[in-house]
């Protein structure tokens, strides 16, 4: 079969052959995986225009066999899909999509519908935009994003979905700003196994110092009404190494909203306190209530840490000294910072796996180089698990068995190294995750429990 018409894309096609090679044991998926980002917003329903397997692949693997998270209101098996066939490939699928959207409106109850495209329509050149615009003109709450598999991964697909909602669904006018209201752009829903609990904790911290938070995704979000409130916020907080930056820039351009970028998601008291002080200063909050909140949180945190100290100083059978992290930049950086600065563990290898856009890599490197006043880490970027595992095998972990923060893919490797594995990212097929969080003050305690329960339970 011959190619029909690849849609004209102005300048973003790489002129040189790219260096991307084969990938074994995937650590991210294609852009249409962002259907679960749409589904992460309460009462939002994704609609996929793609082959019959794309939707199932995206949710079964990212939402189910990754912590068994559940799929949300309109995600997973609820997601309407054209299940495009030979007919749509040969004659185009715009009519089929129109028919699907029309019938979706009679079957499904949603506050917003998000159309996502897969490889097929993006290759055969369906004019998805004009189909969706017809519905928009009729007042149907619907937007679309081009997320064909070859266009990018589920991180960039997520940004495409977010920006589609902002540009196609929110009005151009910012209106009145609400003092103390912040939009939070942070972890990638579902891809990050712990995103729900983590967002809940981050929201709790920000509210603790007196802010109101549009958390936007997950059970704590009010859904689309909260999204409509985005332009009202006083500022945008990007809490991740790079994801969300382009959204913040878009919002600055569109509504003149300022933004604050904090690359390190805080784990533990030191980072959480630093995080809150930085946000408070940016937001111009009075310091007394902020310091009050911090004091209360730290008191609770260190009370538990005090108990943990007995174990950490006196456990007879050995604890790991060196660690490696294999994961998305956000968690990799957060964990490395916590383990180094608070536990005094020694970083042996840090591999970032989500293929961050080139323009952000230097900044990520810089963050790792400045992990602590006395520790600098050279981070590596790899996506192919075969290469990653070879690197871990050749890493010097010293005499003690290492602890690896990774994914299910590392199970065999860790057995081979006689080390300990903590599954902290996609795919985590041997973890059941409900509201567990590893960030903030509270999450850090859960993380310590997890790490050392794993270590101790293996010892006899």
């Amino acid at each position: 079969m011959a190619i029909l018409a690849l849609k004209q894309r102005s300048a973003d096609l790489a002129p040189e052959p790219d260096s991307s090679g084969p990938i074994e044991l995937v650590r991210y998926i294609c852009a249409i995986g962002a259907l679960q980002s749409a589904a992460a917003i309460p009462r939002v329903v994704p609609i996929t225009h793609c082959g019959p397997g794309c939707t199932d692949k995206a949710y079964m693997n990212v939402a189910f066999y990754n912590g068994f998270q559940g799929t949300g209101w309109g995600g997973g098996p609820v997601t309407p899909s054209t299940n495009a066939s030979q007919r749509e490939v040969i004659f185009g699928g715009a009519d089929r999509l129109r028919e699907l959207i029309e019938s979706t409106l009679t079957v499904l109850d949603g506050d917003l519908f998000v159309v996502l495209t897969g490889c097929i329509p993006d290759l055969v050149g369906d004019d998805v935009g004009s189909v969706v615009r017809d519905f928009q003109k009729r007042g149907v709450p619907i937007v679309y994003a081009e997320t064909g598999g070859f266009r990018g991964n589920n991180f960039t697909g997520h940004e495409a979905v977010v920006q589609a909602i902002i540009e196609q669904h929110l009005g151009p006018d910012a209106g009145e700003r609400k003092a103390g209201l912040v939009n939070l752009w942070s972890l990638l829903p579902y891809q990050n196994t712990f995103w729900r609990g983590d967002l809940e904790e981050i929201k709790r911290l920000l509210e603790g110092i007196g802010l109101k938070v549009n958390v936007l995704f997950g059970p704590d979000s009010a859904g689309i009404s909260e999204w409509r409130d985005i332009p009202r916020a006083a500022f945008n907080l990007v809490l991740s190494p790079w994801l969300g930056l382009s959204t913040a820039k878009l919002l600055e351009k569109r509504y003149g909203q300022p933004w604050l970028h904090i690359p390190v998601v805080p784990i533990g008291a030191r980072q959480s306190t630093a995080f809150l002080r930085e946000v408070a200063a940016f937001a111009g909050l009075p310091s007394a209530p902020v310091e009050d909140f911090i004091a209360r949180e730290e008191a609770r945190y260190y009370n538990y840490i005090d108990g943990f100290t007995d174990f950490y100083s006196e456990y007879w059978w050995g604890l790991p000294a060196k660690f490696a992290v294999i994961g998305d930049s956000a968690y990799n950086l957060a964990l490395t910072k916590f383990l180094v600065t608070q536990l005094g563990l020694i970083p042996a290898r840090q591999i970032v796996t989500e293929d961050p856009p080139d323009e952000h890599r230097e900044a990520i490197r810089a963050q790792f180089r400045a992990i602590d006043h006395d520790v600098s880490v050279e981070v590596e970027f790899d996506e192919d698990s075969f290469v990653i595992h070879d690197k871990i095998r050749s890493t010097d972990f010293g005499q003690k068995p290492p602890i690896i923060f990774g994914t299910t893919w590392e199970r065999d490797l860790v057995k081979e190294l006689k080390g300990t594995l903590v599954e902290v990212g996609f795919p985590a097929s041997y973890e059941v995750v409900l509201s567990r969080s590893y960030v903030g003050y509270r999450g850090a305690l859960a993380l310590l429990e997890r790490i050392y329960t794993t270590v101790v339970s293996r010892s006899a």
Binding site: M1, I3, L6, R9, D12, L13, P17, D18, G21, P22, I23, E24, L25, V26, Y28, I29, C30, G33, R43, V45, C50, G51, P52, G53, C54, D56, K57, A58, Y59, M60, N61, Y65, G70, W73, P77, V78, T79, S81, N83, A84, S85, V89, E99, L100, T106, V107, L108, D109, G110, G118, C119, I120, L123, G149, F150, N153, T408, W409, R411, D412
Partner: protein, 507 residues
């Protein structure tokens, strides 16, 4: 119709068998309309002359995300223990590595084999490759797969993207095969090519038949039986041992050599004709390995007939009769103890097609009522075209009709109305996406990850015990049932006809 192993692509199920994915009515009517019976549907007119038999199909405007052929290739070719699967696709298709890894690892553990990760390599096609083609990347990925793992075979799964841009997968595979000295086997499984995913089983089996199965076997293994299955526990070895037979499990978790020796076996059987139809028929046609043509091994009637036919084909009748008698004597009191506890319960089966026919039979053996069943597709005939394999006909004749028999391609929105129609106490499922809805209605599900759970005589006991266990889960499900809201419009939830939209569209 003959199976053609000369072409590189498999003919789709709809072409070969007239497969449908939308139908609603009594099981007896569907059995009537299917080709085993007459071959023509009264309202569609004659299909004589057409390649496949025709059954009227309901098609609606609303569809939810389904499953594609490539996923079935992943779960078959991808689980061959000493092979590697190269996915010629952008990275999204590689998502399946996650689920099939989990299933593979747990399957290996159940069989007592060394647990290891699956070996899938994605060619990782990007935007540029869509313009300039991905053949070179495919070549690189195949060679990388070989260098890394030294496999005994390399499978290639095609994708929507590679199909549309028209990459010449065949030539790349041939060149690599010549260089590497192991079979390099293209499996054509573009998701858009077939409306039902089961074509993906056939695509895998087609490739194995063409490039792995030994063509002119010099020896015959008279006691070796090919068992076409997935990753289920090993129930066949002890069962066939009674007849003095050995098991050759294919395709999942087999080695390449085990696949190659299929042509030397004495017969082929499977736990499900949906999965086994193509491979078994082709082994008989091209290699003279007879396939056992009998009802599937579920319930007393099916298992008796299946064992007797296997015994006949392999000349072991006396052994079989002795085994059947002993098993009846062993199992009957166990079932007699179970039946009173299960009587009056209503079950619902939502699984693949031929498998559902078997499960309904087992439920009826247990005195569980079955008023409804959903199968994800329907093959009006299997590749053998032999009426002894008419699994739906066998169900209706042996156990009576199923009033609400539905064919639907795993559409959750219809599942609501289907369940309302029959209000079951529990459901039996394979394939994801439906149990969560049932759960929210207060109905617990028995997910049969181990496909052998309900097979044979012991299977009836197993399933009976699983039902009693899952009924206890009702406490959990009923607790949440009152508290959740479903994403469907009230008007749709009030609709009694699951195919209302389809019927509107065809008027």
């Amino acid at each position: 119709m003959a199976i053609n192993l000369k072409t590189s692509s498999v003919e789709t199920r709809e072409q070969r068998l007239g497969t449908i994915i939308g139908w609603d009515g009594a099981a007896s009517s569907l059995a009537e309309e299917s080709a085993f019976s007459r071959g023509d549907c009264a309202s569609c007119g004659s299909s004589r002359g057409a390649k496949a038999r025709r059954v009227c199909e309901l098609q609606g405007p609303f569809t939810q995300g389904s499953v594609c052929s490539e996923q079935m290739v992943e779960c078959q070719a991808g689980n061959v223990r000493d092979a590697v699967l190269v996915q010629h696709s952008p990275i999204g298709c590689g998502a399946g590595q996650v689920i099939y890894n989990s299933i593979y690892r747990n399957g290996l553990a159940m069989r007592g084999l060394p647990v290891q990760n699956i070996r899938f390599v994605s060619t990782n096609l990007r935007e540029r490759d869509m313009v300039y083609g991905g053949a070179e990347k495919l070549d690189r990925a195949i060679r990388a797969a070989f260098d890394r793992h030294r496999p005994n075979a390399i499978f290639i799964a095609t994708s929507c993207a590679s199909g549309i841009i028209g990459d010449d997968v065949e030539s790349v595979a041939r060149a690599c095969e010549a260089d590497l000295g192991v079979p390099v086997i293209p499996l054509h499984c573009e998701g858009f090519k077939s409306k039902h995913w089961s074509t993906g089983f056939d695509a895998t089996q087609h490739g194995i038949l063409r490039q792995i199965v030994r063509r002119n076997p010099t020896r015959k293994q008279d006691d070796l039986i090919n068992v076409i299955n997935l990753w289920g526990t090993d129930v066949f070895t002890p069962m066939l041992k009674e007849l003095g037979l050995r098991v050759n499990y294919v395709v999942d978790m087999a080695t390449v050599e085990e696949l190659a020796q299929m042509s030397e076996a004495a017969a082929t059987v499977s736990f499900c004709y949906t999965l086994g139809t193509y491979l078994a028929a082709a082994l008989e046609q091209d290699y003279g390995v007879p396939q056992v043509k009998a009802p599937q091994p579920y319930g007393f009637a099916g298992t008796d007939a299946w064992l007797r036919e296997l015994a006949r084909v392999t000349g072991r009748e006396a052994l079989a009769e002795d085994y059947i008698a002993r098993e009846h004597a062993r199992v009957k009191p166990l079932l007699a103890a179970l039946r009173p506890k299960l009587k009056g319960l209503k079950g619902y089966v939502a699984t693949g097609s031929a498998y559902a026919h078997g499960m309904v039979g087992v439920l009826r053996e247990l005195d569980v009522e079955v008023d409804g069943s959903l199968v994800f597709h329907h093959d009006p005939v299997y590749d053998s075209e032999d009426p002894r394999q008419d699994s739906l006909g066998h169900l209706v004749e042996t156990y009576g009709d199923v009033k609400h028999f539905t064919v639907g391609n795993r559409q959750q929105y219809q599942f609501y109305n289907l369940l309302q129609r029959v209000k079951p106490d529990f459901i039996i499922i394979r394939h994801n996406g439906l149990a969560p809805l049932a759960a929210r209605l207060g109905i617990p599900a028995i997910p049969l990850g181990d496909e052998h759970h309900a097979l044979g005589y012991q299977g009836m006991v197993n399933l009976g015990e699983s039902i009693l266990a899952v009924l206890q889960h009702r406490k959990f499900h009923q607790d949440i049932a009152g508290r959740v809201r479903l994403p469907y419009k009230a008007s749709w939830l009030a609709e009694p006809d699951p195919f209302a939209l389809a019927r509107l569209a065809t008027v």
